[in-house]
């Protein structure tokens, strides 16, 4: 009974959503020490950037398991963005450097199996780079808008 209620609700939400024009939905994993603060700086500096991004704060870009990103794409994100401290600036000394190798391989693999490379993006944003954060979001949103909805990895029920 309860389940049916939830299903009906979900369906009506989905129907309502499909009526509206599609907007890219981007999940950004930002490291606590640099990129999250950079995004915060963009906010307090009143820099305008598209509102298509949902931020998830993580302790370090090294914390991110590639499965997190795939899971986000599966659950309806149109793209994921990972941002950490610039090389050499990691709060944990080398978390971002270890992550860099993981991300390089992930991106190569996804491209290899035919997923658009723009669906997973990686970058470095420091705590003082509010402008850079906004510029990156702008670029990612623009690219994903061109690609259209994520049709490959999204789970269809």
């Amino acid at each position: 009974m309860q389940f049916e209620g939830i299903m009906n609700q979900t369906q009506s939400v989905q129907q309502a959503a499909s009526k509206q024009a599609w907007e890219p939905k981007i999940v950004a994993f930002l490291c606590n020490w640099c990129s999250y603060a950079g995004a915060d700086l963009a906010g307090v500096s009143r820099i305008q950037y598209p509102c298509n991004v949902r931020v998830i704060r993580v302790p370090c870009s090294g914390r991110i398991n590639p499965a997190f990103l795939l899971r986000a794409l599966q659950n309806g994100a149109d793209a994921v963005l990972v941002s950490g401290c610039h090389p050499g600036d990691c709060h944990y000394i080398s978390g971002n450097l270890v992550a860099r190798r993981k991300f390089a391989l992930l991106k190569a693999l996804l491209q290899y199996v035919g997923i658009e490379p723009e669906r997973v993006q990686f970058t470095w944003v420091s705590a003082s780079e509010g402008g850079r954060f906004a510029a990156i979001i702008e670029k990612v949103v623009e690219q994903v808008r061109k690609l259209g909805p994520n049709g490959r990895l999204a789970k269809r029920l």
Partner: protein
């Protein structure tokens, strides 16, 4: 090349000696199986039974998969009190298996000092499914190999059919670049030279030359057969985690069902977990009951590790594993850079950029 029966005799003598002299407590090798084109793993504890060991082109299993569980660390203090000292283990290794053992030593899963590695230069092993397919309507009742290395199968009416080795070798063996074990205490047989060194690269390039849509279609078509039995994980010597990401339920990162998106993510994650660790033994492909070519992905990651970081899995026991290491100048041209300069450029930002430029 030394004939396989000669190697077999040496192997039996070696195992017998090691067990008799108490150099090892256990000896891992292969035994004749009940089906043709196959052998079964054998765990020897008594020197008298060394005669059961066999060596031939059907010794496919990567025995390194059994090692981590023999050296499991005690879970808690109570278990540690009653724990027996880790055993000394002798093990038969082909080229790829030896590289798996090296990778396990690198990752501190097995103690080198407790191992006696018996390496055999490997001319490639037979893919049982390929052999059965080649026989077509015939059903093999027995199989063997002759001195030239051709595979002979005895079929139901008693006739003998010769199969050409190149036709029935496993795909992984056709792409093999290091048939000789990397580190071992004893070498029986060999030396064997790699026939082709760029076969893997060629196959990856062939797939990559297709447009993205075709690659995706091929990938999806292949894995849509997957029944999520996890046999590829079980067979892989590098999948030794006590708690696998797949078994984790809070949070559940990878769906357990056969929904195509769950299957896709499973295969991508499995491949990523073997990145820089996979020694291309082909155990996952052999284990798959649905005939999925899991090496499509692992092959690419191995090549990528080599191209980007000059790293090959299982080459040196002293090397730091690929994904535990880093270099300041690792390639990062895959990163997203803003297409225009940030709009608001504060003095702090300029100072930051100047610092970085240095």
């Amino acid at each position: 090349m030394t004939a396989s029966h000669e190697i077999e005799n040496r192997l039996r003598a070696t195992a017998e000696k090691l067990l008799r002299e108490k150099k090892v407590d256990l000896f891992l090798g292969y035994e004749k199986a009940s089906l043709p084109f196959r052998t079964t793993p054998l765990l020897l504890t008594a020197a008298e039974e060394a005669g059961r060991l066999v060596w031939n082109s059907f010794c496919t299993v990567n025995l390194a998969v059994y090692l981590p569980r023999l050296f499991k660390a005690p879970a808690d203090a109570r278990e540690a009190k009653s724990a027996t000292p880790p055993p000394k283990v002798g093990i038969v290794l082909k080229g790829c298996d030896a590289r798996s053992v090296v990778a396990l030593i690198q990752e501190r899963q097995v103690p080198r000092e407790n191992l006696v590695l018996v390496g055999i230069g490997c001319p490639g092993v037979v893919d049982a499914q390929k052999a059965e397919k080649t026989l077509g309507e015939h059903e093999a009742l027995g199989a063997g190999e002759d001195a030239q290395g051709s595979i002979r199968a005895v079929v139901e009416d008693g006739t003998e059919i010769t199969l050409y080795r190149q036709e029935v070798l496993a795909d992984a063996c056709l792409e093999c670049r290091s048939p000789m074990p990397a580190i071992c205490d004893l070498v029986l047989g060999g030396p064997v030279e790699a026939k082709e060194t760029d076969a893997a690269r060629r196959r990856a390039a062939e797939f990559e030359s297709k447009p993205p849509d075709a690659r995706w279609a091929r990938f999806q078509e292949m894995i849509s057969k997957c029944i999520r039995c996890n046999a590829c994980r079980q067979a892989c010597p590098m999948c030794y985690c006590k708690e696998c990401l797949l078994d984790q339920t809070r949070p559940r990162l990878i769906g357990a069902g056969t929904d195509i998106s769950d299957v896709t993510i499973y295969h991508l994650v499995r491949a990523l977990h073997t990145a820089g660790r996979c020694t291309e033994c082909g155990a996952c492909v052999r284990a798959c009951p649905m005939g999925i070519d899991t090496r499509l992905l692992t092959r690419k990651l191995s090549l990528e590790a080599e191209d980007l970081y000059g790293y090959r899995a299982g080459q040196s026991a002293d090397a730091i594993p690929l994904l535990s290491a880093f270099a300041m100048d690792d390639p990062q041209d895959f990163l997203t850079e803003p297409s225009h300069l940030p709009a608001a450029s504060s003095s702090a930002q300029e100072a930051e950029q100047a610092r970085r430029a240095k």
